[in-house]
Symmetry: C2
Subunit: 577 residues, 2 copies
Amino acid sequence: MDRTLAKTLIDVCEKRKKADLLIRNCRIVDVFSKTVFEGSISVIDGHFASFSDEIEADEVIDAGGRYVVPGFIDAHCHIESSHLSPAAFSDLIIPKGTTTVIADPHEICNVAGLDAMRYMLMASADLPLSVYYMFPSCVPATDSEHAGAVLLASDIDTMIDDERILGLGEMMNYPGIAAGLDFVLDKLECAYSRGKFIDGHAPDVKDRDLDAYSACRIKTDHECSTPEELRDRVRRGMYVALRQGTACKNVLDLLPGVNDDNLSRIMFCTDDCQCETIIDEGHISNGVNLAIGAGLKAEKALSAATLNAALCYDLRDRGAIAPGLKADFFICDSLEKIVPDEVFVSGKLTAKGGKILSPSSHIKPEKVSGMMNVKNFSSQRLVLPLEGDEARVIKIIPGSVVTENCIRKVSRDEKGNFTRDEKTDILKIASVERHKGTGNVGLGLIEGYGMKSGAVATSISHDSHNIIVVGTSDEDMERAVNELISTGGGVTIIQKGKVLMTHPLEIAGLMTDESAQVVYDTLREMHEIAYEKLGVNRNIDPFMTLSFMALPVIPALKITDSGLFDVTAFAFTSVNP
Amino acid sequence: MDRTLAKTLIDVCEKRKKADLLIRNCRIVDVFSKTVFEGSISVIDGHFASFSDEIEADEVIDAGGRYVVPGFIDAHCHIESSHLSPAAFSDLIIPKGTTTVIADPHEICNVAGLDAMRYMLMASADLPLSVYYMFPSCVPATDSEHAGAVLLASDIDTMIDDERILGLGEMMNYPGIAAGLDFVLDKLECAYSRGKFIDGHAPDVKDRDLDAYSACRIKTDHECSTPEELRDRVRRGMYVALRQGTACKNVLDLLPGVNDDNLSRIMFCTDDCQCETIIDEGHISNGVNLAIGAGLKAEKALSAATLNAALCYDLRDRGAIAPGLKADFFICDSLEKIVPDEVFVSGKLTAKGGKILSPSSHIKPEKVSGMMNVKNFSSQRLVLPLEGDEARVIKIIPGSVVTENCIRKVSRDEKGNFTRDEKTDILKIASVERHKGTGNVGLGLIEGYGMKSGAVATSISHDSHNIIVVGTSDEDMERAVNELISTGGGVTIIQKGKVLMTHPLEIAGLMTDESAQVVYDTLREMHEIAYEKLGVNRNIDPFMTLSFMALPVIPALKITDSGLFDVTAFAFTSVNP
């Protein structure tokens, strides 16, 4: 708020000045009182002025008694997971009613460090979508894998003062908090010294460990999966974000823990949401609709999805429909299922009927493209010697990013190297370092992927985003890696030495400037190819499943560019048990 | 929060370090979830560490299953109304469970301007009570009366950066907001430019005027008296403070408007609370107990009285019992009626059984004492000529600060001057300017005070704090004024030229360094004298009633040093109708 805007708003309310827009005959969702009232809204200079229908305005609309709802705020997301540039992401989610996101550019910063943070700020500066950031706290996510950057407190200090950076992103290093590690505390201090916030990420953390974690003013958690976890976090003053993303879907599991008495500490988030999910199911609207469908009163769900996030992140200019706030809102027919029709950003009609009215301009990703620095790679690097006929295998759990650590009987060739047995569902998987040209290749075995021939590779592999590749033959795996090197990253499907299809992700190997629809169509086609032609298990997402196989902070067994990692023991392990 | 404290808290939670204090066997009031759970609390360096009973500590207490409640936060008060210095005020309210106040030193600043603000900051810097301030926005409260200071935006700019000044105090000049007056907007800008808050004060303001008022980011209101007013403010994003003070008691009236869905926007405040009220009825505890007694679940009332105020004023270090927060709390036996027993401030036992354990040190009020600059005063200045036998009379409404504007038949002496008619209850009232030696004396008539002989005067008269005096004779009125000049301010009772009793208020004529008990005993005795010997109406407070007769922002008719003021017309008026 500033003096000029205050004066303008007063003048409109007192009818000394015309508003830009008056919408009469609204059912206004009041997220402060979780109720609906009938009235008008008026907008001047992008902000709500009055509820009165007496306001004079340049443009007058009749809402016909439809509902007017504040724009959704996503309390925690990674834009990169959509595969879209910030501009394309904005064009995708604004029509779904989300007008503000709190984004953690953890993925792209793992690839390109401060250059990535600068790109993300710049590429989202002038979008209809308000993009706030949390500075990634854990780059690299672990010491167990080689990312493209290391961001220390000294790096955070150089950028955290930016007014669109609200604080420190999800503190995944909860063991580091419990241990009181200096380099972790240094990062917290970056936020403390500026009065900025710290997001949490604390799956399964409880009791005294959770006391320590929350005592550090880590303010949020989006990793709850049970009502008890939710209760324990709220009790300690944390906000809990109900997550409904592509892989992690917690809304229905957590809802039994949400009640009138703790609702004010509940938000919604998407975390990792692919653009297919957003197109098919919605964005924050998806979680909200699930909650409403499960019995949460719509006004309460909407309050959590708007006001609560604004309060948590101290976004004082938004989160509700009220005089003086930024006029981000949408109109919809019903509160039984929220389907945003007209979406207004700063009082301007920006999307209608699920479509953006005018696509956003893209910012050239100059410093964050062509990031495929792979050295000394060939199929020779994929040879996996075994000591016996038993091997340690990563077992995929469909619908989860958690894996199991199994021992399986496997076949060996005459040299004692792993060879695929068509009677089993065990494949070779590799993580190929792509940032610093180290030549690292980590090898492992995976069960449950289902592929019968060919190879799949992706340069999206959380959180270090090396190239992850799985295949029935070393030759197809090699071809897949080389294809991604040539496209500057992406997702590819190979069969018998041929590229069946590639989805290029030219921005840091993670995102593209193509529109959501192009990405959607491409990935949909590629999914079908993976299932139909390669025989990938239809109970899993062929690409996202791979993307989480390298995440060595989620149990139980993962593959990194340095080899197999036992997350439970937090130590490297061997394929040979 | 800082790095050192975070490290210490982690070390205690992880049992690498001993806590200062462990209290086992507690029923902990969780104001985040509005529920109670069984557990332990531990404290290190003034902050809560853990809920675990495994923590090792230097001192271990067993709470015996009693309730542990966060210290109350008074969302809006004027310390001056207690008649006590900040130190004596702290000693009084800490035993009542209030550990933080948001104080607006509006009264003393009207007397002594920036010197007063500096005194209040200094005098409260090292108390057990955490005193935050809102910088008075309306000094003087109106142009209609002469106060001791004028504080403009340029003055506010010099002090508002102080970290204990949270923003701009109650914006009483709502007509100035509606008119968009420059000097008012200048003051708002002082808060905007620092991201600080603005408190409201908007009785009866509604519809488009309330839109304009809330559009300016005026964040709170404590002047609601009906559930509809409460609803209208919450709907516009304001927090509403339920007020329970000495004169203004709104809790029970507003409670029907409070529900689960808007509770998060509700706080408690005392506004103006004399020390007698606090001793007899409690402080924030009083409002909370009334609410509980009227059916509000205790955990909800406690949440409003603690967490909500902390959230409203962005006091991130307090407002609940949770790891990392300041360990301000109390222990009590029951939640049916909250009677704080042991009160802990920063984890130290500070009061027990309603008594402070160690009285606070006072700061000498050097620049704010002896402030009685009255010129050219004598009983001659009290002569009130009338044009006829009807006069405009201020009618007291018992229990309210609102008055009625009445026309009454009155008696005149041979010179046509007002003379008291013993058959009526109409007395002369005067406001004697005491700040700048202007010699101003405003004269009026008042009905309902009941006095049969003598005079009563006080240097507390909101908001300009000139001397207000009422009497049955001009001579006793003169004597009363001269008594206050000689004591440097206070409250006095005169009869037949003699001082029956005087309560000196040496700090700006508003407060004293005496303890609450001394003030209580003195005022109690003086009340009895006023009722017994002077015949003052027992349905009113003899002193506080006078103190509000000069407040020209509360309807309907008030007396100022410049004469009678018609608040409804917002213009001076005459005793002659």
